[in-house]
Amino acid sequence: MAVIAVAFGAYVYADGSRYLQTIVINSVTIMVVAYSWNLISGYTRYFSFGQVAFCGIGAYGSAVFMTKLHMSWPLGLLAASAVTALAAVPLGWVLLRLRGIYFALGTVALFVALSILATNTEWVGAGQGLPMPLITDFNVILFLSLAIGAVAIATTFAVSRSRLGLRAQALGADEDAVKVLGVRTLNVKLTMFVISAALAGMAGGVAALNAGFVTPTTGFSDPLNTQSIVYTLIGGVGTVWGPLLGTGVAQAIVTQFGPSAAREVEIALGLLIIVIVTLTPAGIVGLLNRVRILRRGVIMRPRRTDRALSVAPGWLRRFAPYDGDAILDCRGVTVKFRGVTAVDDVDLRVAEDEFVAVIGANGAGKTTLFNGISGYVPRAHGTVRLAGRDVSRLDATQLARAGLSRTFQVPRLVDSLTVWENVLLGSLLDSKRREAQDRANLIIDELGLRNVAYATVDRLGPGTRRRVEIARVVATRPRVVLLDEALAGMSTEEIAEVRHAVEALRAWGVEAIVGVEHVLSAVRGLAERMIALDFGRVVAEGSPDDVLEQEAVVNSYLGGTVSEEEEAAPRAAVARRVAGEHAEMAMEVRDLVAGYGQVRVLWDISMNVRSGEFVGVLGASGAGKTTLCRGLTGACTVHAGSVRLEDVDITGRPAHVVTHLGVAHVPSSRELFPDLSVNDNLRLGSVDWSGATTERQLERVLELFPEVQPLLQRKAGALSGGQQQMVAIGRALMRQPRMLILDEPSTGLAPIIVRRLMQALRSLAEDGVAVVVVEQNAVETLRAVDRAYVLQEGRVVFSGTADQLRDNARLAKAYLGSDASAASPATELDAADSLEPRPVAAPPDR
């Protein structure tokens, strides 16, 4: 690269034309600012719209050092860069606490404020600016600018390969998730900010030397600001070669027009931004990557796979073993949202070498408990002690460094990085490079990730992603790990692999594990102790077998004991057809394959529902229930198969169109409009707000849910969960739908309310509406519905009448996992099979 720069310089030098020299110097200045912008905005994803502020500081600094303090120009330039970098420390410390638009506008504010300040400060010459020392030989400036251009490229290249660059990219993708790996995010951002400021400061100084003066408009140059952003965008944001290519291509065209057409050029650049943003946000480098040119190298890819480390007892130990009572001691943990108590006074004590499973149905507060312990949501009360030390006030980063780390329910990996880089990110905590590489290698082998080690994470299936996340957290060598549903949504084989790894953790030096689990079969053999939560409270605690036998636990999962069920009058499983005001209709789903983007969650789903039928879809968490609801109502990607409503094919139609066709959907998150009144919420569901039919329907809804009547003027966001559920269903009914699809309506509701809800749905079905309820609460659902489908790992594994299903032992197994290893053949279908990564390819440059 240096060779190219020297050769290029020599060419321009030999040419000797002042015009060409000026163009080259200007272009290199823009390029260096582009590199500066790229470091903070491209790699760290903090979009700066005022990077030129640092050019101005550099330019004015140079002028002051050279003209006022009479330093020689090389010394003055260096001093000015240093001052710029220093100034960036407090500025970054303030600005980098902002994110997104706030950071963007903060940088704009900085840039505009400084330029106004310069215009009005006599000491720096106000509007006239300051003169610079005269350098008669322009070739000096030419080579100087080529040199800083080379410095900018070399710095970016080095950063992109370093642990700093790795951490910057990772926090740019998901700042919160990186904190659990012990990354001090503010330090990383600040370092990137300071480096980028130093580059911009140098560029500003050289530009001022070239011009022979600095004024507010040349120092804090608006066009330079624009060009540096647009050119990087053209070349490829967050790539090593983007700014160089972008500046080269753009300047080759722009300079043809000369300064008189500056405005026209800016208009063209503005339009170009829009074109790039909408068509090819990855820029030239992104296009080249498609044909495998200029792809990014894997950060710190090890040269050899043999290593000094081997799996020995305690090899993952970062701290001396704790010999006190409870390594993790949480007392009275309470978390509240909007006045609702999600976790209520929970004590969690974990002894050395223990695996504690926290179980409970959806909405029981399991994940919120983890969030409360690990500092992700503020606790209303409660203390957390780790190995005897009070860590209640530590944030996620500090907790991770102290040895408490966690995984997330939906793995939060850095999608654009490889498996290796994700694991390394954890491994680098408190470690030298070589040691971190060795550890990452060993963990990748032990967790069976070797064959995907250099694949980017976005290409992996859900089971593999989960293993990568466990690997990444384990690599930080924690004392205590909180695993949030580490085994959910995996195939039987994958569960076996992860179980093996989790079992090994304690031998490797992890002192204790707390696992939130939904699928009880998964933890049955793993956990020594179990804590069952319901409505945010501990309802049972003890050995797994004891806990799973307790009535409160069985109730919270299945919604009632089977013996209680016997007293319910047996009902014909045939759909009742009550003549109603609705036209007969039927929905038919054929071989539906659906998911999100490229990820497929549902496989070959076939089902049908007719008017007047009440159909249940049952399944544990991660079985694909929500995706099915979305697949039926147009809110996810359909890959194959069809959904037909009588003669109308509604496959992949937008959600509002499906609503207009008479299919109402009540999402599990309810999606009420929190700041609008209940009355408004209900009426928004209607066709015409206040027509005669709507008024009649509103009355009917209030008849169905008399509890809602007194709440009409309250804001929907202020209601309790049960009330919200009723309003959500009521809103869906306002259009008099022919079909009603409800996603987990029982979540977070007391059993008595669930029963009343099911009765209400039953009466709707009897009125001729086709009702589909997607539920985890099996007993309460089976008590009410005519027929049901059972989903497991994205496939229908069983279907039949409610009576058939009630007596089916397989259903209980799917939930309580009384015998995990002997899963029936139908459940061994491997949903994640075709999600396995495609052949390993080098990651694209970004």
Partner: protein, 287 residues
Amino acid sequence: MIVVQLFVNALLLAGTYLLLAVGLNLIFGVLRVVNFSHGGMVVFAGLFVYWLVLRQHVSPVLAVALAVVVVAAIGFVTQAAALARIRVTGYDAELLSLLATYGVALVLVNISALSFSADYVSLPELQGSWNIGSIHLGRAAVVAAAVGVISSSAVLFWLARTRSGKRVVATAQSETGAEVCGINAAVTKRVAFTLGSALAGLAGALTIFQSTMAPSAGLGYTVLAFVMIALGGLGNYAGAFLGALCLALLASFTSYYWSGTASAIAPYLLLLLVMLARTRGSRYSLV
């Protein structure tokens, strides 16, 4: 007495500011995008009116109406051709939307400079003032304030009281919820962006009668509008009202008691202060 005069000036200025704030808030509320071209739309409309009235001899009222329609059309196209076509999601979409509206701002500011005026100009219509005792009420300022308050109140009324307005508010609060109610969220976004742009256009068209304006001031108006809604809380209309008043007071008093420089820098310092004061937790993080 001077304090009263300054206060009155601020109240009048707040009428125009209100338009800026309500427009930006509407766009942010529904699209979760801060319109970086908001200020560009303001100067484009203002200078367009200047050009129509002074160079094309169009009547001022018609010129204002034309400017509002043209800027609304620009907003419509921006949303349909750029924002709606961004294919990524999440935080990246937010950043790309910012860039796209930044691109629109560049186009608008430079077209204004090329076609209308590159320097600071103002319209000599509606000069003079009404006097109440020793308090002067500039005619242009009074008219602008009246139009500003009436039209932003009309928009707020529409949002709070009518069915179609509530559908917009509903979409802002939950896009999924709106879709399951049969509301086409994509169309609602287009409506919100178009209307928000029209309000920016009206603000610009009214400003050119009361003070000078140049293309280069575009970015400044964006920041000004953003500070107002940030002060009141993003998406909060009552807050935006207070924000507009605060900044109008700030502008009015700083320019009298200190200097034009102080008045120019004040919004930026206020922006930094507001953000600093409220950065605890993730309140200011959009992800």
